[in-house]
């Protein structure tokens, strides 16, 4: 029985429903005392749903043990010295509890987000089978809208945004020479919000899934089924997780660098993460605000977006995109950082134009705040606002171009080791350029006014987010796999995964451009029979793309047991995470490193990024 009292998932099993039901009962009691109508009157189930879920989130966090240190501290109990009992993983069970080790949290993040990725992908496969033929087929429009909205929501809020927090969590403290993140408990709290957000989104299928897409524009979202309220709560939870992690990264990067790690000796992934975290902290409150307002319209009867009552429908879009455009950079800047790491190591050559790449990240982050309304060129906002937004959107191509050219400069005349990670990194450049190019076209207002909200836009952002972000995620997962597991991943399966992904994803997303140009709108469960042929090709390729992911899952599981031992530094990398054992020691560095030079000094004989003042694992560097 004691298992139900200690902080763990078993305790969540009773604390979550207890807190949730208590809050709902309390709310109903207050309503009764005040003489308001009782259950099943208009709006009451909706309000109970909101109260139950929000308090349920708090209940779960109490159950898992997020507040076990903070509560006693708040009531003035005597300080308990931290015995580090929550830190590190000694068995698989330690991955299922409140763990403060950034390496454990990194793995928890990546696994959770990958589950979300597979679920979102499965939803896409279901609606692609509907779209394979024109006419009503497997699912009806309501189901289609639900799956389409869930697909976007899961992929963005529970996969692409947090997966980079996961990779960063594992890698960044190691790269900085730090023993952990700055706020380990906050870090664990941020992670545990994420599976909750995923469950909240998925559970909306039970009460009528949200249908207004991941953008949730009112008034369609404010009049939608109850699932829309869960969408709004889920975003708050995922957003809170995102903000807390970003604050943690900022403080860690600013204060916890090893001696000698000046800003311009930081690996570029750290730079990218710094820019991303600043974006997250500044922008995420806006989507929180947007979702609070739509939720208040739904459960509290406010009139933010009710035009008949003086509400303004466009206001939502401005606030929403003020987050959601920077969110695109939140989903791609860390990927840029990963690519910079991989290209340099695998080319045995210093990164080309280190400072230009670092500053272009900052430039993209800054410019990213001035382009949001390019999502609204057809919304009917003030006409004159379209031109400045077009100019700033076009300008963002410049720092992005600098990065791409610098990467080409890095691999040119290098000694290229085409591992799977490197294949994904170079493949990323190819597909991302296509997405970048169509981004320039879409910035042009007259062209956008033709293809706005069509399959052309779907093609564009899948090239950016799949051809861009997802490729970098895979590159990163293959690259750091030996560090996490201590074993090499199977390269043959890796190459098979790369080529199926590369070929099938292009077959899925390339024809969408033509569909959009020709006149097929997005988010439709059915279409004009003239678009039949390309849709068949897309659906078929989408199934292949999905099957390719199974190769990856199989590879990850099998290589963890049967892969060749990796040793601390299989790629002969200079950055700090490779100077410790694989997997790293429980507190990362048994001897604190001292940084003496840049991170990419390949080709300089005897050059070092860091030294370990005492004899250390660094001496065991393999030369295999």
């Amino acid at each position: 029985m004691r298992v139900f009292l200690r902080p763990n998932l078993a305790r969540c099993l009773w604390v979550t429903p207890f807190v949730s039901l208590t809050s709902m009962t309390l709310a109903l009691a207050i309503r009764k005392a005040a003489g308001y109508p009782q259950l099943w009157d208009d709006g009451v189930p909706q309000q109970m749903l909101a109260i139950g879920y929000i308090s349920g989130v708090i209940g779960f966090l109490i159950g898992i043990g997020s507040f076990d240190t903070w509560f006693p501290w708040m009531i003035g109990s005597p300080d308990r010295p931290d015995d580090h009992s929550q830190h590190g993983a000694y068995s698989w069970r330690d991955y299922f509890r409140f763990n403060t080790d950034h390496k454990v949290i990194g793995v928890q993040y990546v696994v959770t987000t990958f589950i979300a990725f597979l679920m979102g992908g499965m939803m896409a496969e279901i609606f692609r089978s509907e779209l394979a033929h024109s006419g009503q087929g497997v699912i009806d429009t309501k189901m289609f809208n639900g799956l389409m909205s869930q697909h976007g929501t899961l992929m963005i809020f529970t996969f692409l945004v947090p997966v980079f927090a996961g990779i960063g969590n594992f890698v960044i403290p190691l790269m900085l020479g730090a023993p952990d993140m700055a706020f380990p408990r906050l870090n664990a709290l941020s992670f545990w919000l994420l599976p909750l957000a995923l469950l909240i989104f998925l559970s909306s299928f039970l009460v009528g899934s949200f249908e207004a897409g991941w953008t949730g524009y009112p008034p369609f979202s404010t009049e939608g089924p109850m699932g829309e309220t869960l969408f709004e709560i889920g975003i708050q939870v995922a957003g809170a997780s995102s903000i807390a992690t970003a604050v943690n990264f900022l403080v860690t990067i600013i204060t916890m660098r090893a001696p000698g790690m000046t800003l311009f000796r930081m690996p570029l992934l750290v730079w990218a993460n710094l820019a991303t975290s600043a974006l997250v902290v500044a922008a995420t409150p806006f989507i929180a605000g947007a979702q609070f307002m739509t939720m208040f319209d739904r459960v509290m009867g406010t009139k933010f977006f009710v035009p008949e009552m003086g509400g303004d429908v466009l206001a939502y879009q401005h606030v929403f995109w003020f987050y959601s455009h920077p969110a695109v950079y939140i989903m791609v800047l860390p990927g840029f950082g990963i690519i910079s790491e991989i290209l340099s190591v695998m080319s045995r050559k210093p990164i080309f134009g280190y400072r230009a790449i670092a500053f272009s990240s900052a430039g993209i982050a800054l410019l990213g705040f001035s382009v949001w309304a390019h999502h609204m060129f057809a919304s009917g906002m003030e006409d004159w606002l379209r031109v400045p937004m077009m100019i700033s959107t076009m300008m963002i191509a410049i720092p992005t171009g600098i990065k791409i050219f610098s990467w080409l400069g890095t691999i040119w005349q290098g000694v290229l080791h085409m591992t799977t990670a490197m294949l994904f990194a170079t493949g990323f450049i190819f597909t991302f350029v296509i997405g970048g190019v169509t981004g320039i076209w879409l910035a042009s207002v007259p062209f956008d006014n033709h293809v706005h909200d069509t399959y052309f836009v779907v093609a564009h952002f899948h090239y950016v987010l799949f051809g861009g972000s997802v490729m970098t995620v895979f590159a990163g997962l293959y690259f750091w796999y030996p560090k996490v597991t201590g074993r090499m991943i199977n390269e043959k399966l890796g190459r098979a995964h790369f080529w199926t992904t590369m070929i099938s994803s292009n077959l899925v997303f390339m024809p969408m451009h033509w569909l959009g140009l020709e006149g097929m709108p997005r988010r439709v469960a059915d279409y004009d029979p003239q678009f039949q042929n390309w849709n068949e090709v897309i659906s078929l390729a989408a199934f292949v793309l999905g099957a390719g992911m199974l190769i990856f899952v199989y590879n990850v599981i099998v290589s963890a047991r049967h892969g060749a031992p990796a040793g601390p530094n299989p790629y002969r990398s200079l950055t700090l995470e490779w100077q410790v054992s694989s997997p790293p020691p429980i507190f990362n560095f048994d001897i604190p490193p001292r940084v003496v030079g840049g991170p990419y000094r390949y080709g300089e004989p005897g050059a070092k990024h860091a030294i370990f003042p005492e004899p250390s694992v660094a001496k065991e560097r393999t030369h295999a």
Partner: protein
């Protein structure tokens, strides 16, 4: 140096690819002045950026092929950290390209806007679940007859007729949620946003019938809204000669004046909101989202008058669901968007037709 040659060859090949794509032409038929303008900037962007794509791909593939490590090669490359000249060049050239593209796009944006051009025709567009309706405010007015003064509206119910080579100012509004009004052949699109009027303009320059597509997800029958989807009752635009339009509009004005005081025809006019989803012979409507209105009596529950049943079905549509259809599909706000007179007339006419 070799990199520059590879890049240049790639850029040329990329531009050639762009030209091929322009010649293949993925766009729909050009049917407006705006379509010509927009396709022009599209083609310029396509060729230019295909050049950039070609350059990047050529250097990428060139590097991977040329500089691949031999098996067991453990050497490092020369420690080149950058090249200031090159970095300046690849900042400045893209900057020039985007400035030019922005300028040209701005020009096309201004050229496309003919909303206030001399001699323009104004058309009101109303989006609602799940149909488009149109009227011509310029030709609407009031008519005084024996029974008093009635406002009349010259309306193109569900379909729109416009003259060729005339700048048209579209005033677009929504009666419920956001819809997107897109005429692919004209290359123009804008949202119908509740609570505000959005402006869009086009100058059709080709005769014919063109599809209107709803681009904004708006509920169960969104895919059928205006589009040529199987089972839909597509809302189209007919572009006719100016002489034909003059004849059409003159007849429409006469008809509208006559109808203004005729309750029976008013029912058919009010039907404009129903045609997207329901079939009804008197209004020549063929929608299949909801049940046909030609024979409403067969779904009537026993013990209710047909008139009461039709009225209930309009103002609270989920009260009784016809066999084979789902609840919650029909918007529940017709009780407020239609006037009492319109509902009375509709109920009387639908019930009377069904009894025959």
């Amino acid at each position: 140096m070799k990199a520059i040659i590879v890049g240049a060859v790639g850029a040329v090949l990329g531009c050639a690819l762009g030209v091929v794509l322009v010649l293949l032409d993925g766009m729909p038929l050009q049917a407006s002045v705006q379509a010509h303008n927009t396709d022009w900037i599209y083609q310029i962007m396509l060729v230019t950026t295909a050049g950039i794509f070609g350059l990047v791909t050529a250097v990428l593939v060139g590097a991977v092929v040329t500089f691949r490590a031999k098996h067991g090669d453990m050497s490092d490359a020369a420690p080149v950290h950058g090249h200031t000249g090159l970095e300046i060049i690849w900042t400045i050239i893209p900057t020039i390209i985007v400035i030019v593209l922005t300028g040209l796009s701005w020009k096309v944006l201004n050229d496309n806007n003919v909303a206030d051009a001399k001699g323009h025709l104004t058309v009101s567009v109303w989006g609602q679940k799940w149909d488009w309706n149109y009227d011509y405010p310029t030709y609407s007015g009031e008519v005084t007859g024996t029974k008093g003064t009635f406002p009349y509206k010259v309306a193109g119910i569900h379909e729109l007729v416009v003259p060729i080579n005339t700048p048209i100012r579209f005033e677009i509004r929504s009666r419920d949620v956001i819809h997107g009004w897109w005429v692919p052949a004209w290359r123009v699109q804008i949202n119908a946003t509740p609570g505000q009027m959005n402006l869009l303009s086009a100058t059709p320059d080709r005769l014919g019938t063109f599809a209107v597509v709803c681009t904004f997800v708006c509920g169960d029958a969104h895919p059928k809204m205006g589009t040529e989807v199987a089972g839909a009752f597509p809302s189209r635009i007919h572009v006719v000669t100016q002489a034909e339009f003059a004849t059409y509009i003159a007849a429409a004005v006469v008809q509208a004046k006559k109808d203004a005081s005729d309750p029976d025809h008013a029912a058919v006019v009010a039907f404009s909101g129903c045609a997207g989803c329901h079939a009804w012979t008197p209004a020549k409507a063929g929608g299949t989202v909801g049940p046909s209105l030609d024979d409403v009596a067969k779904d009537k529950p026993a013990g209710e008058t047909l008139e009461a049943f039709v009225r209930e079905s309009i103002v609270s549509p989920s009260a009784h669901i016809a066999t084979g259809f789902s609840p919650g599909v029909m918007p529940a706000n017709f009780g407020t968007t239609l006037s009492k007179d319109q509902i009375d007339a509709l109920v009387a006419r639908i019930a009377a037709d069904s009894k025959k």
